[in-house]
Symmetry: C2
Subunit: 106 residues, 2 copies
């Protein structure tokens, strides 16, 4: 099992709306994540716009690939693109920076 942490930057002027949107993620998006093997998945957001993701999955590369093939993910990422800072022409989920785990306690 892989524990995955990633970061991204949300625009300062969009923090409230980004938070609000994540209180009502489309059920079909949640279902697609589950079906693709994303489990125990949380997003955390600092007051200055640092987004931190944490999830557990059998194989992150495979889980990402499965999501990338879904139609709902393309729609969701297009909808989210305007919230992100510094990702240029990437889709948000292509602009995530994975962070190395240096310690774990069960």
């Amino acid at each position: 099992m892989e524990r995955v942490c990633f970061t991204a930057r949300i625009r300062r002027d969009k923090l409230a709306e980004y938070t609000e949107r994540h209180g009502r993620v489309w059920p079909e998006m949640a279902e697609a994540l589950r079906a693709a093997g994303w489990t125990n998945y949380s997003l955390f957001l600092t007051r200055d716009g640092l987004l931190i993701g944490y999830l557990e999955t059998d194989d992150f590369a495979a889980a990402q690939q499965r999501m990338a093939q879904t139609e709902v993910n393309a729609r969701w990422q297009a909808d989210m693109a305007g919230f992100f800072d510094g990702i240029g022409d990437l889709r948000p989920d292509e602009g995530f920076n994975r962070v190395a785990e240096i310690f774990h306690l069960e």
Copy 2:
């Protein structure tokens, strides 16, 4: 159950040593964390020194308090103090910034 995410800053010139030290956390420190109710606890470290912690616990305030009362935590935090940036006279575990969860998928 609370899912907790926190951040802190590690000195850029100390990243390798901080990482190395977390590959050999004292067994009595790990045991104290477990006994205090810190579970599924990971630390992640970016290449520019952002430390991200994630853990699960029944009651984070109580779990922190239980750790603060242990002798091994005082020794560990004293040992780690030189690695942290911008915490002044705080112990490292007093300088952690908790980050709000905005989304969760089981």
